[in-house]
Amino acid sequence: MKLIFEKSIPGRGQDIFPACDVPVKMPAAPLREKKAHLPEISENEMGRHYTALAKRAHGVNDGFYPLGSCTMKHNPRIDEKMAALPGFAKLHPLQPAHTVQGAHELIADLEKFLCEITGMAGVTFQPAAGAHGEFTGLLLIKAYHTDRGDTERNEIIVPDAAHGTNPASATMAGYKTIVIKSNENGTVDIDDLKAHLGPKTAGLMLTNPNTVGLFDPNIMEITRLVHEAGGLCYYDGANLNAVIGIVRPADIGFDVIHMNLHKTFSTPHGGGGPGSGPCAYKDFLAPFAPGLVCKDGENYERAEKSIGNLTGFYGNFLVMVKAYTYLLTIGKEVYTLAQNAVLNANYMQEKLKDIYPIAFDTTCMHEFVIGLDPIYRKTHVSALDVAKALLDYGIHPPTIYFPLIVHEALMIEPTETETKETLDEAITAFREIYERIFNAPESVQMAPQTTPVLRLDDTKAAREPHLRFDFD
């Protein structure tokens, strides 16, 4: 398919702007000499270009999207409609506070809801995404220790199954990452944790349920041990969807958590963002919270020992509107989300486990992991091949090659908004692919065959980086 630049014809274009109704005047400063190449294209042609691109994309609305750890559930239309209301979308972030009381009320209400769901005391909406929320939470931990003069604590403990963002966030917060092992059940190895706790421990980052989809049965002991060592407990809320309304992170010993509004609270991911990663914290961390808060309707205040700001204004406000709308709809029955997310995952796991090796064969939470390694060793059909084969069934593949502790991993998260029929169709597809792995392995290795492009050469892309269109 052509790039939009290849459809551009000099002199074509669209008339958007009016003639200048005041004398034309430019600053007496050095002006641009080399013009920017931008498309010159009619609205019709442009519309068709993007429609063609849309046809080459796959969203939740196109089909099943069991992308593990990403919670690709249905994005309700009402959420979008509410976020588009001019009373939100047309607000300048620096309007006088008394002209944006509805916005502040919404933020305050959403904060209350999220505090109730997490058990925490306060929420900052500054972070624009999950990883940004992790960074924020770790800075809160750092500010807390620093404020107490406890400056020797420079280590963050992270399990080996963690998302890559955890160690990367720890580095950005100036911490050294200490990796602890998972045990044979796929959860935290308590002895290894004990061995690494000490006077240098600033905190522990834990995803729960963890990245293999398991609820850590020792969770209360884990948080107790970390606290006894003087560290704080950070809850990576990427998988909160599995326990929402059933377990509250604060109740099980966590001090700070980020949530992904674009996962658990059903705001759409937009092909990579915008997300929103609000960070909730216990009372004793409130003095360090970032951002400006309007409590009295007129003035903005900053917490006394605030770590500052993570984004220019108040975070991704319109994403908050969507999450708020979603929570108003669901209300106190949020636990039904977790129930059905967990049910759907277990249903699929149960219906596949006779043929596909399940990494940790027990009741899973909202997702489960297939470790294809034994099959790969026999057949040379890899997790990547299975993922690509699913494309020909119109199914978005699971997350692959993550978590790192499972070889040839396929991580499947159906979510609660899928019907039993959809799950059954996917199960049939997985079972058919399994047959093909043994009967016609090359058909799996050559997949996909029905997509706009076939397998792409990642090595070439990385060895000869070509990151833009060349006009010359």
């Binding site: 090659y401 990385a462 060895r463």
Partner: protein, 122 residues
Amino acid sequence: MIDPKELKYTKDDEWVRFEGDEAYVGITDYAQSELGDLVFVNLPEVDDEVVAGEPFGDVESVKAVADVFSPVSGVVLEVNEELLDDASLINSDPYGAWFIKVGSISACEDFMTADEYDEYRG
């Protein structure tokens, strides 16, 4: 590929070739084939110190990155700039594609001979 007899090998899959007081360091054929198509290599700068058993750089494939450990302690005299432009040389000629040349060598790791290494990675 046959591992050259004149080189020394480490358990982390590096090779080292001594020339007088200096040593050339690279990664073995086994290492490159495990890593797959390499797309980039991060190397230290000349005059940097390297320590035996500690990473001095890394190699990137499309989906992974692996540390490269120094078999010797010393000072980097030269880095192989060619690899910065074309990491595929490591795949095509692992024993020609040296990463760094080290001088002022003060310590070495325990080395294996080619036969021992073949046995180790058999």
